[in-house]
Subunit: 126 residues, 2 copies
Amino acid sequence: MAYPIVGAADADLCEQGRDLIRDVLERIGDKWSVVVICQLGDTTRRFNELRRMSEPITQRMLSATLRGLERDGLVTRTVHDTKPPRVDYALTPRGVSLLEVVRALAGWAEHNAAGILDSRTAFDAR
Amino acid sequence: MAYPIVGAADADLCEQGRDLIRDVLERIGDKWSVVVICQLGDTTRRFNELRRMSEPITQRMLSATLRGLERDGLVTRTVHDTKPPRVDYALTPRGVSLLEVVRALAGWAEHNAAGILDSRTAFDAR
DNA sequence: CTGGATCCTCGTAGATACTG
DNA sequence: CAGTATCTACGAGGATCCAG
């Protein structure tokens, strides 16, 4: 099932959902969550794999980001008792659904990036 | 026209669009932009009107938020030379399109809020 | 390899007071 | 009414070292 995009009737969904929206934005609004979610979009990844793909993220922030995502049930963390140790991360179904919303965001960004940049330069020219 | 939500083919849209997504998130990821955009969703508003509706925002932050949104071509600022002075803010078409994306986000939040809270308490119970 | 612990810096937002 | 100016506090995030 898809999520309502326009929802003409629920103009007050924003009004009611202020805290809700803030929660989501605080979840994905930090510096690295979206990046990590995107990297996990298609497949399972290991820690240092994510680290390289998400450069220039620091170890500390990748660790913290993954822990936060795991806490919210957006990614799974699987420890393999091998030597050397190996930990796999992957998106949960909920994480996948968030990824779709993020893709909608990316689509909007793509459509409007040029226009926004134009507006900025025009605005700054004063 | 709607924006692609799923986009099975463009799995790398996230990969390419990292900076793009970050731009959007920096735009709406701050504490007040989404709130203001929602309040402007249906109609034109004046400064102190927005101020009251967006409590507990401070004058400074409302001013800064509106300036940022205006800079990106998301809201218009109309000064009326009356006495006392009066300034009207309203969404541009681009701002309306962003509002729709924000509503999609709100929808996701609504659908998943309970599950996320459950995950958190379960995670914290360890 | 996969992290945890510590220290430190730098930006952002709040409080407050003032202006056209 | 519609802002600006200044000062301060707080917290996210980077650097670095250490551990299982």
